[in-house]
């Protein structure tokens, strides 16, 4: 019996889908059986980020309507044998499925997989209700911006009012140079407001954009800082103790010289 984890944020564009794709892939890299579920009906993206768009035959709505069996709708990842995607429909709307139907699907998936990672749409309406229906755990993604933190706070309140008690936090897209200048919220501030466990921090990394466009999750590229951050998160989910990433950028040549002569 596996775990079902919903990745949610409230606000759009903070990196839910990217996080889902990378955590799912990272867990697969660590040898786990993973199924990612896209519940963003009508605006599906997870298949694109994973590079599986052209393999979709059936989707989540087809399963809900009984047009196909759950196993028929699952798409095997091109990189791993034990990593699958249940795609959302692109033509329908969020209310094409009911939370109870999603819950049943997730229950069924949990029997075959170690981890069921559910990608939640932005917002707190029907799509959100669908996404959290089958999950017993949640990861809340936020960025170091007031608006995103506000929405994350709202989402945590809603999760706690449901059956999900201890959501975990990921702070995404941190730009350390801005944090240092005091122009971006720092992680301690965010954690003080949200008051939930931090499971990882992800630096802003241009390689993530490139990877998403190529349909190859960043986490596959060991040279990317964000990839290491996502791998760390996956290891923490498995119970390893991994220290938080040091975000300070490496000193440049001039700074090294200055340090050598102990000036500055």
């Amino acid at each position: 019996m596996g775990e079902a984890i919903v990745i949610t944020s409230g606000k759009g564009g903070v990196g839910k889908t990217t996080t889902t794709a990378n955590i799912g892939t990272a867990l697969a890299l660590l040898g786990k059986k993973v199924c990612m579920v896209d519940t963003d009906i009508g605006l599906r993206n997870l298949d694109v980020v994973l590079g599986l768009e052209n393999r979709i035959i059936y989707d989540l709505v087809d399963v809900a309507e009984g047009k196909c069996k759950l196993k028929q709708a699952l798409i095997k990842d091109k990189r791993f044998d034990e990593c699958y995607l249940l795609p959302a429909a692109q033509t329908k709307d969020k209310d094409a499925v009911l939370p109870e139907q999603v819950r049943k699907m997730v229950e069924e998936l949990k029997e075959d997989f170690d981890y069921v990672i559910i990608d939640c749409p932005a917002g707190i309406e029907h799509g959100f209700r669908n996404a959290i229906a089958g999950a017993e755990e949640a990861i809340v993604v936020t960025t170091p911006e007031n608006a995103a933190v506000r929405d994350a706070d709202r989402i945590i309140g809603l999760l706690e009012a449901e059956h999900i008690k201890n959501p975990k936090l990921i702070v995404n897209r941190i730009r350390q140079n801005l944090v240092k200048k005091g122009e971006m919220l720092d992680i301690d501030e965010i954690c003080a407001v949200l008051a939930i466990d931090l499971i990882g921090i992800v630096p802003d990394d241009e390689l993530v954009i490139k990877a998403a466009n190529e349909g190859e999750p960043t986490v596959m590229n060991p040279n990317s800082n964000a990839a290491i951050a996502y791998r760390n998160i996956a290891r923490r989910m498995l119970g390893d103790t991994v220290p938080l990433m040091q975000l300070d950028t490496k000193p440049n040549f001039l700074q090294k010289i200055k340090k050598l002569f102990r000036i500055g």
């Binding site: 809603l158 706690e160 003080a192």
Partner: protein, 218 residues
């Protein structure tokens, strides 16, 4: 015998008398004036047919013993019959009605209470905490707090860390901190001074609102 004026007011109504008892003075003063009025100044009532008496104590909280003392004094004067004793207990109730709540008020959530509220935890931006009396927060107030929600201008809002989005007392709304010019945010409270919101250190709370803290009975 020096008695404060008008602690006991006696009014005639259609079907009897109403005794209006001041609710701010000491109980002994009340007894003294009641006796004084019945025996010295208003003894003209006491001769004649039976008179129905209604006693209104206002917001004073009376024990059964105190009620009996008053009843005895009035009954001892022949023709007076007590019909009823009335106290406005609502406000008194709300003043002593303290509720302790623990948790986090997150964005979009509201906590409200009739009376005073002690909240242990944080109120986040977008969260609202409302009480008809005072609000004390052991934690950070970053959201909105509304004290004296039914119009009590005497209400206060105190917090370990006072950095709210907005503060409201009765019908006065304040947008801190740019309106206050206060840099410090730890252990402070907000109150109304002539209808304007002001902020001060927590240690001055008992001086500005002495009735918030009572160590002895009135």
């Amino acid at each position: 015998m020096a008695v404060k004026k008008n602690v006991v007011t006696i009014k005639g109504v259609k079907d009897g008398l109403v005794f209006l008892m001041n609710d701010q003075c000491a109980f002994e003063d009340l007894i003294a004036e009641l006796k004084h009025k019945l025996e010295k100044t208003h003894h003209q009532f006491l001769a004649g047919p039976l008179v129905q008496v209604t006693i209104q104590f206002g917001e004073r909280k009376l024990s059964e013993i105190q009620k009996n003392i008053i009843a005895e004094i009035i009954k001892n004067h022949g023709n007076l019959v007590i019909r009823s004793m009335e106290t406005k207990e609502e406000k008194e109730k709300s003043r002593s009605n303290l509720k302790v709540i623990k948790g986090i008020v997150r964005s979009g959530q509201t906590v409200s209470h009739e009376g005073n509220m002690l909240f242990v935890g944080d109120v986040n931006p977008g969260g609202i905490i409302t009480a008809t009396g005072d609000i004390w927060i052991m934690g950070s107030l970053r959201g909105t707090a509304h004290a004296g929600a039914k119009g009590n201008m005497e209400a206060t809002i105190a917090a370990s860390y006072l950095r709210p989005t907005q503060l409201r007392i009765a019908n006065v709304i304040s947008r801190p901190p740019e309106e206050w010019g206060v840099q410090q945010s730890y252990m402070e409270f907000a109150y109304l001074n002539n209808g304007t919101m002001e902020i001060d250190k927590m240690v001055y709370l008992h001086k500005i609102r002495p009735q918030s803290m009572q160590f002895k009975e009135e």
